[in-house]
Symmetry: D2
Subunit: 153 residues, 4 copies
């Protein structure tokens, strides 16, 4: 097939590592019953809030709580998300979300995730984010974020 | 960076068309208030249930309602999902989800989506599905689905 | 037991009718797969967005779309909700939400709901709402709403 | 108005205490961004999964993990839920859910909840549950639960 996409994807160039040791941060989340579906597993849409919760805890851990960023008028829009589901998650599982910032441009950055339960890989994911102001317009990354991702450029 | 993924991705080879005319099916969904978030837009996790609703209506439209498939012990696990968010969705928007099956293997198939509001493209997405039995084990695609996607192989 | 609640409840005085003929408005919603849980039924938290969708369609039907109200700085906070689950809902069910405004004070109003599937009652519900301004402060009901509920006082 | 409800409500007889000291168990939950809505607060439907998470942790704390109960074919259907929203919850709030079992019959039991943030009461809630078997049929409460609630009868 030959149809084309209007813009290149930063997600496609690189795949998340399956090795927890490659990730800078980890956060545990226990699966709620409300997140399961009639197949008896966690519904595939429920992973994105897990990734978001892990991002929020990561920002807190490096001294830049998301809430503070938002109060200063900077927000992080999600531009892209990719999820690869390998093994299902079940009610009451404790999911460890491993994450790392893997690349950045002037106005966007990419985060990769590895999800494990009891050490076994269940899924990987990637999200791409832009910094936007309170009107949703793209702005440059804040300085602390630029410096964080500088080695990645 | 050089880490590797254990399996190739069928999503990465191809990108959804931005032309509604390229899609076989369309389904309208009105955004619920409960689907918005504190940024005033639809939360990015809420798109996956929209795609799922469109798949369900597509299956119904071609005479293979999902519920009937499930009763016969065939289910469709989601293996991968990719979402590219271009323009936000807002409360009360009527989103048109355009959909087409774009490729298939013996045990999996790929669907692409284009989301529009009043004709303007807001996002694209791709999902990859496997057929599984009631124990979650992969099985061959049912015959009708094989025949549907045969021209795509 | 003798502990007391700080405020009286408008919900407790009255119970929703089980007769669809008692309701002013009805709206159909098809259950999404994403709304089911591992018990194979619709999760009990998913009913509240159904009620909300029905309220939104009701407001539209009487010429006061919720979105327009919100643009004018009036919002409807939920003060109380009561749900009585009699029969479960399942994936792909078409749920008919019957609703009516049943009472009002200067700053709040009550809505009752009857949920049916194929004519059989599955649940009833009641919600109590306050009108609030864009800072979340209670304000008097808009005139059209006062007039709508005047016969109920 | 004179319409009648087909069954009496165990919720209406009693209201949750506003005093945290009256509750047997407490569990903290941090609000996710995905749980907020375009009013900038936690959507009212999102409280029910919070209550459920607290119930699950309570059962674990008394040696009867929900997952184990479900494996033995006993499940807890939600018959009724009542929520009184006093103050909104916001993104990143740490909500303390206080909980106690307040009454029981042969086949159902009632739980009351008090939600606080930094010690301030934000809402109260009540849920009524039935024990059901794996076909969704009501069964007697398991012995440990009967004994737990015996003093309440």
């Amino acid at each position: 097939m030959s149809h084309r996409s209007p813009e290149p994807s930063s997600i496609r160039d690189d795949r998340p590592s399956g090795d927890p040791g490659d990730y800078a941060f980890r956060h545990d989340i226990r699966v709620r019953f409300a997140e399961t579906d009639a197949m008896g597993i966690v519904h595939h849409s429920r992973y994105l809030p897990y990734l978001e919760e892990a991002r929020v805890e990561y920002l807190r851990s490096i001294g830049h709580p998301y809430d503070a960023e938002r109060s200063e008028g900077v927000d992080y829009a999600v531009l892209e998300a990719h999820l690869a589901y390998r093994q299902p998650l079940h009610f009451d599982d404790v999911v460890t979300v491993h994450l790392r910032v893997t690349s950045a441009t002037r106005a966007s950055f990419t985060i990769q995730y590895l999800l494990t339960v009891d050490g076994a890989v269940t899924s990987t994911a990637t999200t791409v984010h832009a910094c936007v102001n309170d009107k949703g317009r793209p702005v440059r990354l804040p300085r602390w974020l630029s410096e964080l991702v500088a080695p990645l450029r």
